[in-house]
Symmetry: C2
């Protein structure tokens, strides 16, 4: 790769930036305005969810967006603080420091730094495929459970009572214990804000359209719902002195650009945070990439997952050096960005400018903003992530996938986010290994009128009693090698008519060293009882590998290109007759299969 | 299952015991005499290797053998202390107590108890398949590395210097540091014993045969080599007062049957030992089952792996209650037992009686036994486990398997047995997952003169440019779902001639929920660019599952029984012409594949 090509690979901005024009600028700028309006209350709220001062959310929405714009490949992904990662940050940092202390903030910065380094390293090593191990049911269950957990954790702000905890039971228990301290005015604000936001999300746009607004304006106004809620409740709090009557407010938010800070260089802290950083990186990356892929496919664009790792990693490293905390691509925000017409990652860069302006100009206005309003915006946002329909669909399709999903949900709710995601990944890998360790083997016979072999239990097929053909429906490797031995030797022991065993291998994608030992043992033991072992339809890569061992030399039988060739050689009369017979099975089997 | 059948299942002794006769008794008794002679020095030596008093080895060779005889299914397996498990015991117990203390002995007993409980529980839950995750290259590498580690650890006894450590570097470093304290007489005894034992193992039997001995007597005499070494060096030590001149001896060994003891009921200790107990159980079970299966196959017998778990578990629980330590089936000893004619597990019960007699009568004779002699017997035994040839064979056959094996060896030598075995298992599972996440996909075409489709890169085949047929050589599940998306969409984007994509699925053994989402995405995106998606050769179980989703309803194309049917429907002219063409590929392809 020449240097410019390498540069273009790692700096996608050189590619799209070279073709940047006025029309693109107008689209990007328009999208940036809308996303900025949406992001201001979100970033404040998510920072509070992470246990951090509200302004940290704004800091995390400037440099990270700029850096993602330079290094990222998605045209529409809107990076910044998101709910699930904020919750995971609170859990991780809460294990090493107390909320409100400088150590807590420092640990959040260190977490962003570690997570950024991990993401960049994975991108450079092209390890993006690792994210695939967060299977779809696990991530979907995790997001649903996290959404419920976050919504529950915000109830304390709506009720105005102290309550903390990392599991659903802890949170609900603390709420119940402190319910007598609930504050009526806080509750009124929180409930009104939540009610308005739910209504705005579903009904505001149709209402504005009916009132004669143009589609785009109606859309923007609907997205500005949280800003309206913030403005109205802030004004009321100031006007009615509600903060002196028990309503908790955001208070003084420092005015000015983010501080340039270095993450604390504390190896003991880093090693305590390493696992959490890895989990946050994984969840953030998977969420972000799936949003980015969905949006890219809609416009026939492609994203580059390994470069996305670098883009998100740079964003997090940037957050660490500018007083922010872990960020990733947000779902709702990216959809809004795409809908609003974002054409290039420059939209994110313009959003960063918008947020920077806000930190310079708007922060004094946030003093009287009630925490209950922010809690209401969080609750409305995260309940949109909860997808009970997915649970039902997975239940119908696959009980194994459902088990992994249900365990993820139950453990996330009952033991916290880290336990949930780790258990989900471990369980889905464990269930997969268990499944391949008891693979599907089918005894097959010849479909009359064809050269095709199918399962004797499912199709009208013809077999020669002297030939036992086993179609192995799985690669042969250590977890199932012994199972194959048992399967074949038991079948041959039970039927003295068998003279030939044919292993039909179209589904065998590889044979590892453990399975090779098993095949050698099968060959020897069959040979001792006068039965010949043959292979058929062994694939090229598997055959290449077998040639490196002695197995093919020791094999008592032959190695046939097709299973029909095996029958033609071992039972020519039957093969000829059945091939010539009339065909009974329909060729097209959409429903009759 | 009726009660007697259940009893027979869990008590194999009821089965073989009912047919026991005089001839069987004579065979078993003869084997027991030989194994007893072999086991006495081994059990003393392995107990010292585990850091325990010598008599504990004898205690571990009485009740466990009896209990395995009652519950085990192998006719020839000889249970008792073995080298690798003794080393693992030393490592595990050394982490919680100091050698020589009552706590150390108590922890070894607790380890046997925990390991026994785990084995029995796994047997009752029929979890024997879990042992398959110790792949052949990993276990083979682990045994080789453990053998080297054990041999190195015994050099201190041969040299008469203090040295300890759990890794090769620690052991060799300690030996080097203390080499100036080496004792000449000890070294002479150790070297002579080791030389004699190596010679006896390879040359004694042929020499005796040449001298006119009968084969069986020569065999027994050769196996008695260690006993001869023990007797001669013990006599010399006594006669020359070598123990007063610096030669370390076994010293006072209590006379009498094993104490009846209860394992310490200490939950904190148990939780510290739990992981080690699990590893010891796994390694012990895998070693034992593979020996038992090899010996059973030679005599066309079967063993029942889940019942073996119960047999070995009962043996370890028995060890815990009679002052012993973890045991399992030994390789060399079991081969000797089988060769000597053992017909039933009764041979093990008779061996237990032999060892019991020895503890009653022979222990005073062991006072002057030099530790160097026992170290020599261990070194000669474990070097027989080292198999460098296996490393070479695995290297040639599979680099992935070799990686797991090499990591197991390197980590076992460099970081100790527990790190080695855990890393080996984790790496072999990780490599397997990585392999299936980048699966083999082949573009296939029709072999002229047949209805068979093969890889276009490997065979002379015919294709229709409008039909892109991809044979998916792997089950579709979460680690590779996204890879399939990329693969198909890139191919279609690169070739505008493509009108039909056929996924040929004979190797797809299941499709999980994540892959189903990918297939739905592929179908939608192809549809948007006017390309139809078809399936062919989908297997029954996979089709059953797809019917539970909406995918088949949404599929833009058809679902064909065979790939030839797909061609016959989508390109009938070409299919007919190529089917009728002359065949060029040979049917039997042992070498021409």
């Amino acid at each position: 790769m020449s240097v410019p090509a390498a540069l273009r690979r790692y700096l996608p901005i050189l590619d799209w930036g070279a073709r940047y024009d006025r029309a693109t600028f107008e689209n990007d700028a328009m999208a940036a305005v809308i996303v900025t309006i949406m992001l201001i209350p979100q970033s404040l709220a998510y920072a509070l969810l992470a246990g951090l001062p509200a302004e940290v959310g704004l800091y995390a929405s400037i440099a990270p967006l700029f850096l993602y714009g330079v290094f990222g490949t998605s045209r529409a992904l809107a990076v910044g603080p998101v709910a699930v990662v904020s919750l995971m940050t609170a859990v991780a940092v809460g294990q090493v420091a107390a909320v409100g202390t400088p150590e807590y903030y420092g640990a959040a910065i260190a977490l962003a730094f570690l997570s950024g380094l991990m993401l960049v390293a994975m991108g450079l090593m092209r390890l993006g495929f690792l994210a695939n191990y967060l299977s779809h049911p696990v991530i979907s269950g995790f997001i649903t459970a996290s959404g419920l957990l976050i919504a529950a954790s915000q109830l304390k702000h709506i009720l105005g009572v102290p309550a903390s905890g990392h599991t659903l039971f802890e949170i609900l228990g603390a709420l119940r214990d402190n319910l007598d301290q609930a504050d009526g005015r806080t509750f009124a604000i929180g409930l009104a804000a939540a009610g308005f936001l739910f209504w705005a999300r579903k009904r505001l746009k149709p209402a504005l359209l009916r009132a004669g607004w143009r589609a785009r304006s109606a859309d923007i106004a609907a997205k500005a719902g949280p800003v309206a809620a913030v403005a109205v409740t802030t004004f009321l709090t100031w006007a009615l002195d509600l903060h002196e009557k028990g309503v908790k407010i955001v208070g003084a938010v420092p005015q000015g650009l983010p501080p340039i800070s270095a993450p604390p260089l504390d190896l003991a802290l880093w090693s305590q945070l390493a696992l959490s950083a890895a989990l946050i990186s994984a969840v953030g990356f998977v969420e972000s990439v799936s949003v980015a892929q969905t949006l890219a496919a809609q416009k026939r664009q492609r994203i580059v997952p390994d470069q996305e790792l670098i883009g998100l990693g740079a964003a997090n490293v940037g957050a660490a050096f500018t007083g922010g905390y872990p960020v990733t691509g947000g779902f709702a925000r990216s959809v809004v960005n795409a809908d609003a017409g974002a054409d290039t990652p420059a939209a994110g860069i313009f959003t960063a400018l918008g947020i920077a302006l806000a930190t310079l100009l708007l922060t004094p206005l946030l003093f009287f903003l009630p925490q209950a309003t922010l809690a209401a915006t969080i609750i409305v946002a995260v309940l949109g992530l909860v997808d009970f329909g997915a649970i039902r669909r997975v239940w119908v399709y696959s009980k194994n996938d459902f088990t992994a999903m249900a365990a993820t949900i139950a453990l996330t709710l009952g033991f916290g986010v880290e336990a949930g995601i780790v258990a989900g990944v471990a369980l889905s890998i464990g269930l997969h290994l268990h499944r391949t360790s008891r693979p599907h083997f089918a005894v097959v016979g010849l479909v009359p009128g064809t050269e095709h072999f199918r399962n004797v239990k499912r199709h009208d097929v013809v077999t020669d009693p002297a030939i036992f053909t086993l179609r192995v429906d799985e690669s042969l490797y250590f977890p199932n090698a012994r199972f194959l031995e048992d399967c074949i030797l038991d079948a041959v022991a039970a039927d003295p008519a068998i003279r030939h065993v044919v292993l039909m291998c179209p589904a065998v994608n590889f044979i590892d060293a453990s399975a090779l030992e098993s095949l050698e043992a099968i060959n020897q033991r069959l040979s001792a009882s006068g039965v010949t072992l043959h292979l058929s339809e062994v694939k090229g890569p598997v055959m290449d590998r077998l040639r490196r061992s002695h197995f093919l030399d020791d094999l008592t039988g032959d190695n046939f290109l097709t299973q029909f060739d095996a029958y033609a050689a071992l039972s020519p009369e039957l093969a000829r007759r059945v091939r010539a017979a009339e065909r009974v099975t329909p060729a097209r089997t959409a429903m009759a299969h």
